[in-house]
Subunit: 223 residues, 3 copies
């Protein structure tokens, strides 16, 4: 079974780490938007679990993992408590948050693709769902906070591309029957590294032609 890329306990710990760091980003946005503690918890849960929830609904895996594993539900609450008491410190270690978030991005892209394929989807659809697993929670977070999704904005460092690369590597490994813990780990690490490089060197995607000199939105807008 593809889904068990890693030993179950290792997989579970990696999942919880990804959920935790995504939840931190949700809770931090809630603080910036001046939401109360329940708004923080809601945004933490949605950011951490939204992508996987979408994937599970699409592939028909109901009830979704988010509602059948208590650890998945409790972890974002712990992130909320942490941010509630320590948010100035957490903001100051934004670098660390970005590194963990990049790790979550790579991991979710890989496990999301593998799980979708396990449920019978084609390779392209599986890779697409891997991407959706990795970025879906952040999109929901921004929609609920009434902001333009960070994923769509040109003035943000590349976020989708690393996830696309990781998901596509997994799909190719499945295609050529070489998916195992090493190749899937390599895919996750590649996505992770690309995201870090995008952050370090401010890689950005192009906009439509003849559009480069126009800035409709102020670049300093929160998001």
């Amino acid at each position: 079974m593809l889904q068990e890329l890693f030993s179950p306990s290792v997989q579970h710990v990696l999942d919880l780490v990804g959920i935790f760091v995504f939840a931190i980003s949700g809770a931090l946005l809630a603080v910036r938007k001046n939401f109360d503690v329940f708004g923080m918890a809601v945004l933490a849960e949605v950011t951490a679990l939204g992508g996987g929830l979408f994937r599970d609904l699409i592939i028909g895996a109901v009830p979704p993992a988010a509602f059948s594993d208590l650890g998945y539900f409790v972890t974002p609450l712990l992130a909320t408590v942490l941010v509630f008491f320590l948010h100035p410190q957490v903001e100051r270690i934004q670098l660390g948050v970005n590194v963990f978030d990049a790790a979550g991005l790579g991991l979710f892209a890989v496990t999301g693709t593998a799980k979708a394929y396990d449920y019978g989807l084609g390779l392209t659809a599986s890779a697409t769902l891997g991407l959706a697993t990795a970025v879906g929670g952040g999109v929901l977070r921004d929609v609920l906070a009434n902001e333009v999704p960070s994923l769509l904005r040109w003035d943000r460092d590349l976020y989708a591309v690393p996830a696309i690369v990781g998901a596509a590597m997994v799909a190719l490994c499945i295609r050529f029957d070489v998916l195992n813990p090493y190749t899937s780990g390599l895919a996750a690490v590649t996505a992770f590294g690309l995201r870090l490089a995008a952050l370090r060197f401010h890689w950005r995607a192009p906009r439509a032609w003849h559009r480069s000199s126009v800035s409709v939105e102020a670049p300093d807008q929160a998001g």
Copy 2:
């Protein structure tokens, strides 16, 4: 079967009352946002049925009740007609709307929790879905109207907490095998009363530490 907490006909009438008052709040927001009559109907339907729709998708109860019971679909249209012709009067009786809305909140938290448990979810997941049933429609309403969800804002009286208390009471009753019409009625009434008290005494939830003196959003903003 847990779901039949009340006799079927009583349950159905209570459901329709909850749907009706939630639909009123959706149609009123549409009027405030200057939407046309179809926008009013869409917002009324989404507010009234969105929470239950989300719950039914998560637990795999397809097609959802919203699409299999004609009364669920027609009731929000009646609310739309009422608001279309009488909205100044309806706004004036905001107090009455708030009371009915609080009743819907308590009822949906209780029935949502029981239905989720009926479909095999754990107690924590069931209570979470009870909360989602109660507040989900309002969140969708605000997202479609392009507003920050009222649920998340610190400058709104407590809304999630009464629903959480009601849903948790149902989960505890299930845990100790004492769920019956009386205990579930008590849970609904408790949530109802807490919401009314929150409105009366302007109970609010805290924001993250060191944040209390900062107001990012103007408190008079619509929502």
Copy 3:
């Protein structure tokens, strides 16, 4: 089987045409919002496939057609490439885009209603899902772009009504057992024609009473 209203290949081509023109409208909004090329692709996919995805989740047709037919996934990417290189020209032929969009609206309202009925929903619920299939993608597009959904705004020419008429005609044809390629084609053409007439003569829906002279939102706002 109702769903095969037209021969499978004709149906598929019509579906792809509808998906293509809806995707164009999504990519164009992304250009206007200054999104990068990935934002354009996301908005194109969501606009083109969102309505059908919602319908398939509600009726329990998982994985949805959007994830099981590669052509459905690739077509919005082609639309993205076209808009990326030629968007000023595409904007200039807005009339043509509107005509194709109206065709997609009529087609999706008809096929969405028939597919929902095929999956066992009642006539009213089927027509509602036909409407949701036709307009759902556009609503998701506007929500992701952080705009008030065009569907809900009073200062937009009628969009929902033509789809409602087309979906209702299909439901009536099913009710009286006269649904065939001719009657369903007539329903699609009627919706198409009504939408074109609404565009030509600026038909609009009324707002709530005593509201006509108030304009909360500036009419020239993008959307």
